[in-house]
């Protein structure tokens, strides 16, 4: 079992969701986060005062998957989120120790899908 964490552009969320659904991956958690990579954020101006290095809005996806679904998940995220420019984001893959479905108490791979 793996946990996929992806940081993507907010406006790519709909595309990524569409690609995930196509790959039969329907269980995702989405949160709004701030951050920046190499492009070092944005400059905003308030009453003439510049504020540099403001963090950019990003969207963070968390998806728990069984091993067979790992590659399709990664492919779907890349397909939906890539514009080939700086700022497209990152995908992190972590080993997942356990997964428990709260409603039934089921554990392991069967609890993921």
């Amino acid at each position: 079992m793996k946990l996929v964490i992806a940081i993507i552009q907010p406006h790519k969320l709909e595309d990524v969701k569409a690609e995930l659904y196509k790959a039969d991956i329907n269980l995702i958690t989405v949160s709004e986060v701030l951050g920046h990579g190499r492009q070092m954020g944005v400059t905003e101006v308030y009453r003439g005062v510049k504020e540099t290095g403001n963090l950019l809005r990003k969207v963070r996806l968390e998806i728990g998957v069984n091993d067979t679904f790992l590659q399709p998940t990664i492919d779907a995220i890349i397909k939906g989120a890539r514009s080939s420019e700086v700022g497209d984001g990152k995908i992190f893959v972590l080993d997942m120790k356990e997964c428990i479905r709260i409603s039934s108490g089921e554990k392991g791979p069967v609890a993921i899908g």
């Binding site: 907010p10 406006h11 709909e14 709004e32 701030l34 905003e44 101006v45 403001n54 963090l55 809005r57």
Partner: protein, 460 residues
């Protein structure tokens, strides 16, 4: 470089205009002339005696002017601002703010003169530029009991909100520089002439006997048609077709409430006096808005299973749009019919026709103001009665089918002129500065890319 060019030309425009005013030749201002045919709107029965300022009338029109100002900012600004995605909320608030800024200045410099100086049937002329000759004495042809400048500033608020209404069509994707240039040209070459035709002394639609109490043709049809033209030519928003959900419906409901509140000044103030006609306009305005809101919500309930807050708010605004031309001519039963009817027509337009054709009239400026305005103007020709306003006319249901034909003509003229002139101005602005924002900026949002600000923070 294009931006600098734009700024310089705007600056030049505003500084040279008063100069030209000094050169413009003066003609004697006709005072206290009784109009030959008392057919149109912006007039109360004129007493032949020397015009005298009435303190009650003046107080009410001062109040009404402030109420109509409130409709643009924050009424319309919040109504529209809540409907866009949050990366664009400031761009909407800014466009509404700047509409007040630019058009207020344009209006006192030359807009009022173009629209309301007696002039010819088509154009007011330049004699009142810089408010030259527009003083504190009444100008009896328009309003015999309030200072001329008060009539001017009341009308200024109408001139401000009309271009602001069009924002709903091109929201979230127009360059700010293009917006400023567009509304300035549009106010000068579309709004001012049409206002003159319908309301100005000698205006040719006014001479025809068109009934438009508070601006159904001049404001709503005009802005609605400009909206569909700009929406078609600027193209759909990036990501339209997927969902574009409103980011803050409470804003939209607050905005709708402020619009409703301000509309009492818009319609009731158009009586230009604190009298019985103003009260009648107030009552029918509230009635139509209420009926339209309820009917819209019920249509949704029936059609989609649930009534929505956005539906009620949209219906109420549509009702206010529709009653605008009729508000000085119809009784309360007419208002109910107009309010109920508008929600049916606008709902069909917004929920069925728009998705079918796939054009992106983002906030339904055409669907609500265009369609609602056309229904209101035509319905005035159906439900108008002299029992409400002796200076008005009877409509079709009161035995005068000709009035409906006259209304139809006025609608057709407004639609055609507004569409053609808007298209020309749009193309001109596109050549000069480019109308549409770059794709990467559109994706980031106009707040950040056009204004270097963010409407909301996430942390703190």
């Amino acid at each position: 470089m294009k931006k600098i060019w734009l700024l310089l030309s705007l600056l030049g425009f505003f500084t040279l205009a008063p100069l030209a005013m000094l050169i413009a030749d003066e003609t004697p201002v006709p005072q206290g002339i009784v109009p030959a045919a008392v057919t149109a709107v912006v007039q109360v029965p004129v007493v032949p005696a020397a015009p005298k300022i009435d303190s009650g009338d003046t107080a009410w029109i001062l109040t009404s002017s402030a109420l109509v100002m409130l409709m643009t900012l924050p009424g319309l600004a919040l109504f529209y601002g809540g409907l866009v995605r949050r990366k664009n909320v400031l761009s909407i608030l800014m466009q509404c703010s700047v509409a007040i800024g630019v058009i207020s200045v344009q209006w006192v410099l030359f807009g009022y003169s173009l629209a309301f100086h007696p002039g010819t049937g088509f154009w007011g002329g330049f004699q009142w530029m810089g408010l030259h000759g527009v003083g504190l004495e009444p100008y009896a042809d328009y309003s015999a009991t309030i200072p001329h400048q008060l009539f001017m500033i009341f009308q200024a608020m109408f001139a401000v909100i009309t271009p602001a209404l069009i924002i709903g069509a091109f929201a979230e994707r127009m360059k700010f520089s293009a917006f400023v240039l567009f509304i300035l040209l549009w106010a000068t070459f579309v709004y001012d002439p049409i206002a003159h035709w319908v309301w100005g002394m000698g205006g040719w639609l006014r001479g025809m006997g068109t009934l438009d109490f508070a601006g159904g043709t001049v404001v709503h049809i005009n802005a609605g048609i400009a909206a569909i033209v700009t929406a078609l030519f600027i193209g759909r928003r990036k990501g339209y077709g997927q969902t574009v959900p409103p980011h803050n419906l409470p804003f939209t409901v607050i905005g709708a409430g402020l619009l409703w509140f301000g509309w009492f000044g818009f319609n009731s103030g158009s009586a230009l006096a604190a009298n019985g006609l103003a009260v009648s306009a107030f009552v029918v305005t509230n009635t139509a808005a209420a009926a339209a809101g309820v009917v819209w919500a019920f249509i949704e309930w029936f059609h989609n299973g649930k009534p929505t807050t956005l539906g009620f708010a949209t219906g109420a605004v549509a009702g206010l749009v529709a009653i605008t031309p009729a508000s000085g001519f119809v009784d309360v039963m007419g208002a109910l019919a107009i309010g109920a009817g508008v929600s049916v027509f606008c709902f069909i337009m917004v929920a069925m026709v728009k998705p079918k054709f796939g054009y992106d009239d983002s906030l339904d400026a055409f669907g609500v103001h265009g369609i609602g305005g056309i229904w209101g103007a035509l319905a005035t020709g159906l439900f108008a009665t002299k029992a409400v306003n002796a200076a008005g006319a009877d409509g079709l249901f009161y035995g005068n089918p000709m009035q409906f034909i006259i209304q139809l003509k006025a609608v057709a003229v407004t639609v055609v002129y507004s569409a053609v002139a808007t298209l020309i101005i749009y193309k001109l602005v596109d050549v000069l500065v480019g109308v549409r924002i770059e794709e990467k900026d559109e994706l980031k949002g106009l707040d950040l890319t056009e204004h270097r600000e963010a409407g909301y923070t996430v942390l703190e």
